[in-house]
Subunit: 445 residues, 2 copies
């Protein structure tokens, strides 16, 4: 049995009671948190395992990012200052379509490295049409906890080259789900029709039904992001996005909708009733000029909300700190200064993400029996000389920290980041490879 213990300054559990435990140690056995106890009840000398003393650092659960596009990492900075439909048509669809297995691999690896260095230990990724197996294999190699799936597109008026037939889409999707769902204990399949405008009703329905054959899988799409998109959906289907999803029967507690910015009252009721989950991506929502989702409204009604960085070309980062702080700040002028406080934000970034993905029995908080998906933060680097109260710790994490505060990251008991360096990737090599692959990709476009 592999035994190790972490001795931090404090353990931010994000459990039901939001306990922060001081002077406690956390014992891990074979990747599982086996006990959390006061240091005075722990005998360091008789402990048979690795001891990690980090008495200046704060232990938090790994972040759960519920909307990511790893295939887009290479396109960061190449698609600024556009609205959604132009952005897709002029940049993202052509670029995604130009991926070969090498460029896709480079993009995914660069994205995973950045996510892990930023403390993310679980992601829900929307893949791309081609070479989805590359994404799965990179996720497996990277030890990430992930739900991912091929992007389904059988209609594409914006960029007609980037689609496939309904039948091909469904067949490939089914093969990939057969191959990769539960391929390792950390990998699951997420069925991923892109959005209403790029999918036939048949594709949306069939992929949803297929998802029901794979226990633990999800249904992951975009919804209600941009006014022009919504107008087009209304023209096509005589309904708002969520109304339409409801009509064709794809809402439910395994459905995750990214964005949900422009949502009417009736749609909000449908979200709540069906227990459909909202993945909130504030950076992307602002950068694409889409708008500000009424997240406090969702939370008040008990609708599941979690956070995602989306893709680097619409953010242009991948870290949860940026999303937590921004998601909090943008609501305050609208709803008052007390809304979306730091504790709420940390919960959305961890346990609420895990719940949204039905992974909360495994991850999202620091509790006995869960997987050791953990991050050690140096809050001194955020200029916080004293952390006198729980509130100050939450404040420091959410309002003052960034990727540079992440010292160490562990997934299921295995260190993947030590001293802010990836143990899995040579980041210089990743960038050099990415540079070569991006140059070739742009020549292919």
């Amino acid at each position: 049995m592999n035994k190790q213990v972490i001795i931090p300054k404090a353990i931010v559990t994000v459990n039901n009671k939001n306990e922060i435990l001081y002077n406690h140690v956390l014992v891990i056995e074979d990747g599982i948190i086996s006990s959390i106890k006061p240091e005075e009840h722990f005998d360091i000398n008789s402990f048979e395992g690795l001891v990690h003393e980090h008495r200046d650092l704060i232990l938090i659960p790994g972040f759960v990012q519920t909307h990511i596009h790893l295939c887009q990492t290479l396109f960061r900075g190449l698609a600024d200052d556009l609205e959604l439909l132009d952005w897709l048509q002029m940049k993202i669809f052509p670029y995604e379509n130009a991926h070969d297995i090498n460029s896709l691999s480079a993009s995914v690896r660069l994205g995973i490295a950045e996510l892990q260095l930023g403390g993310a230990t679980t992601i829900l990724d929307m893949g791309t049409i081609n070479h989805q197996d590359v994404i799965f294999n990179e996720l497996i190699d990277s030890k990430m906890r992930a739900i991912a799936g091929k992007c389904l597109v059988d209609i594409n008026d914006l960029y007609p080259e980037f689609k496939e037939s309904t039948r091909d889409s469904i067949d490939t999707c089914n093969e990939l789900a057969e191959e990769f769902h539960n391929k390792t204990s950390k990998i699951k399949y997420g069925f991923a029709p892109r959005f209403v405008l790029s999918c036939s009703e048949e594709l949306l329905r069939e992929s949803y039904e297929m998802s029901k054959n794979f226990h633990g899988s999800l249904y992951h799409t975009h919804s209600s992001e941009n006014k022009s998109e919504i107008d087009a959906v209304r023209k096509l289907h005589g309904a708002e996005n969520i109304e339409y999803f409801d009509r064709i029967g794809v809402l439910g507690d395994t459905t995750i909708l990214a964005h949900c910015i422009h949502v009417n009252d009736m749609e909000r009721v449908k979200l709540k009733k069906s227990d459909t989950r909202v993945a909130h991506c504030p950076s992307a929502n602002l950068k694409l000029a889409s708008g500000i989702a009424n997240i406090p409204g969702y939370l008040k009604e008990g609708i599941s909300v979690s956070l995602g960085a989306d893709g680097p070309p619409c953010n242009n980062n991948l870290d949860m700190f940026t999303e937590m702080r921004l998601a909090s700040l943008i609501q305050k002028p609208i709803h008052g200064p007390g809304i979306m406080d730091a504790l709420t934000m940390l919960r959305l970034a961890t346990i609420e993400g895990a719940k949204a993905l039905h992974l909360d029995s495994e991850t999202g908080s620091i509790e006995i029996g869960k997987k050791a998906d953990l991050v050690l933060l140096d809050l001194m680097k955020a200029g916080n000389p004293i952390l006198m109260s729980d509130a100050e710790i939450y404040s420091s994490i959410v309002y003052s920290s960034g990727i540079h505060n992440v010292d160490h990251v562990m997934i299921e008991g295995e260190w993947i980041v030590r001293n802010s360096e990836s143990l899995l990737f040579d980041t210089k090599e990743l960038l050099a490879t990415a540079e070569g692959e991006l140059t070739k990709l742009i020549n292919r476009v």
Copy 2:
């Protein structure tokens, strides 16, 4: 003569033509940029001086932060989730009032270290009522380019202990200006009445007139930040903030108003006509739930806008990257995705700040004859494998970078940050001192 040369990957000049120079070297003589020339015209072997080869790094001008409260650094995380007047009454005024020279020194040093590590080389600071000399002495020791001044308060209904008589206020202010204005080539005095609600008309007028006796000084106050504040000003003076400032004759090209969120059309005309400058602090404006200033409107009319992090208790950071990105993103849902593009933001953060402070002959851009106030950024750390175009470099700096991308910082030819470490401060020691001083300060409150 002290000669040195920097050989970066690219020089982002932020000059009038927004030139980015590749394969160029920058020569510095006695702290002044003496030449910028193609590397092929530079003979490294015959150069008699220090050669700094940073061929992977991007050279940009140091950031100019035009609204900072160094005295508040210690209070980070202790005043979250409040609106302006509550925040002042319950937290900030009592804390500022409890400063002694040791706690103030600790606060200022911690703030300066953080600013410099984040690439700021020039600041406009609003001081506090007591012990302003401590702030000046720390600024001088830290080699910062700074305009600073004692905070003037002769009315305080929120926290009556924190004020002084009009006469004391004016007299001390005059003494300080006599002592510190141009005390070194980098230090100037900035007259700093706090805001309308805390100043008698006499104090506002007299300090403005006094500022005219000190060539190169500024007049720095807050304006139009919060709706309750504005209501109170209207009740008191029958006017909006800027209307009132105009009536008493304190607008002008040496006046800098922080915030300017709730400003009507007539006030905007007055800002423009008087060439008064706006210091925009987006993080603080959101965090205190104050609102979003119409910055694109100001820019369209040619009103001077620059950026500041304000104080750590309302941000809770001090870095320009956070402000540039946020200032850009929050306007896009309102004004469209092309507004406040990356180049515009970098200009506001550098040359526009220098112009606002009348320091643009010295700093704010990389041009021959200006002081060598410079920052070297590692944009690879922002995950940008290729920087194929000028637009991508601006994008990487504004949308993807943070304090962790700052490798080296120089003020007037003198390195103050090397390899992301302060050469002036032992940051661990600063934090330890800050911890002790904050504990004592809180006991004094």
